[in-house]
Symmetry: C2
Subunit: 294 residues, 2 copies
């Protein structure tokens, strides 16, 4: 990984993880529910979505603190989606990042409620953000709800449920991913554009960047599932194939998926070039996604 990117990721991740750990310090919440929510919040992860928001603000020369509460809300929503996705009613996964999933530790009922609680509190977080104007906050909330809701992530999860056991075409797979994982990768970039008062043209280029980046991210995950290092990945290599999931690798084989990944990264970078951002953190992030599978 590029040294500047590495230093930025490490610094921001530490700062952000500290803030996450304090999420419910001043809230009056029944202990088991609070523990259940914090268990999954603290379970780690690369915090790639918040980092994207911070890196975009940074590219515009704006203070990352302006995006802190939005990033916290976003990570709460990402975390809730993992808790619900792992439920027996959904993917029925018992391990995530090498740890028992939420419902395994706290029971199915509390896991449902922990997800509901994180999702709900995420909007409270953004609504109460005193650093931003009310007009900016309602724009962010409307956009976050659209990205995470039935037209976005939740809709993609439903399509994914319905696609189980069916063989998809590449276009169908891309359409599901655009909502299931892409919407919450596009959101932080677009949110930062709003906070930084980007022009319409800048915002459009950033959105295109984020859409290519989102696909690159998903394709990279699929490749790593087949060729990756089991320990570094925190899950069983080849589990997607064993579960007969539709992935870019199952449709394009490893070589075709790598080629598709390279194309998406190239297009992401082309959009950054329009903004003069291709040599900065956002460019480094895109280039990193390609390198991590080689």
């Amino acid at each position: 990984m590029n040294e500047a990117l590495n230093a930025y990721l490490a610094e921001k991740k530490e700062w952000f993880d500290d803030q996450l750990a304090k999420l419910f310090d001043h809230a009056s919440i029944t202990p088991k529910l609070k523990n259940s929510m914090l268990y999954s919040i603290k379970a780690g992860g690369k915090r790639i979505r918040p980092i994207l928001l911070f890196a975009t603000l940074h590219s515009f020369g704006r203070d990352e603190k302006l995006g802190l509460k939005t990033a916290l809300g976003l990570e709460m929503i990402h975390t809730y989606s993992l808790i619900h996705d792992d439920l027996p009613a959904m993917d029925n996964d018992t391990l995530r990042r090498g740890q028992p999933t939420n419902h395994v530790v706290y029971g199915d009922g509390t896991a449902v409620l922990a997800g509901d609680g994180l999702l709900t509190a995420a909007f409270q977080m953004v609504a109460d953000d005193q650093r931003l104007d009310a007009a900016v906050r309602v724009a962010l909330i409307g956009m976050l709800a659209k990205a995470a809701g039935p037209e976005g992530m939740v809709g993609g999860q439903e399509d994914d449920l319905e696609a189980e056991g069916k063989l998809l075409h590449l276009e169908e797979l891309m359409s599901i991913h655009k909502r299931k994982t892409g919407a919450l990768i596009r959101f932080p970039v677009e949110a930062a554009a709003i906070i930084a008062e980007a022009t319409e043209l800048q915002t459009e280029a950033l959105i295109r960047y984020s859409e290519h980046l989102g696909l690159a991210f998903q394709i990279g995950d699929d490749i790593l599932d087949v060729v990756g290092d089991e320990e570094a990945l925190g899950k069983t290599i080849g589990s997607d194939l064993a579960n007969k999931k539709n992935t870019y690798v199952s449709l394009l084989r490893v070589d075709g998926a790598k080629e598709k990944l390279a194309q998406e990264v190239k297009q992401a970078l082309a959009n950054l070039k329009e903004l003069g951002f291709e040599d900065g953190l956002l460019g480094d992030l895109a280039r990193y996604l390609e390198k991590r599978t080689h």
Copy 2:
């Protein structure tokens, strides 16, 4: 029921039900997910929470349309809570209002997602409400999220889960209900106070009214579960007792619960008197809650 209240309820319920049916007309949502959300949204119910919002606006001489989107968001959140509450992971109920519950019709996975989708889209609804200032919208969203989230309804549901099979004291039961059902009965009254620009004193009296009303509503439900008309109620009489749930009737017997109900209604009305609202719709609603169990 009082004639003026009856006419108001019928008129507003019809208007509101029409709006609910059109909720996702212009949204691009995968069909099964949309059908699942609309199935529970259209499953009826008295729409008591939206009616409270409208009746409070009416008491201040304000147009009910100002509260429409907030009321839609509120009813979406109430509906999501019923879908998740009925899941096998929670209460495992197969019937609600005489109809199969959401997961029975659409499967557990889609029911989880339908609940998630309604909850998320509720905040989009309020954020996008062009009739209200951005500052009012963020205040409403923050308040709605707090009422519905881990410090409110979701917290009460968790306490309720943990209380299963335990014998509670009256104070504990009241504390659970204050969050589990009370928070979403208080919200519409407080939301209307914000929209109507009520004074601080007026708002405080309205909140006290809504808290007594919320308890009266719950106590009434518990009494009806034992002495009610099965058909009118849409569920099996005595099901709470059969499920060994803690209720006001199990703690106070029917006579004691009726006495407690009368006290709550009396206190609700005393707070309305401070506002000069006791003879209007809000007073009628409180008086109706007492009468419906006699």
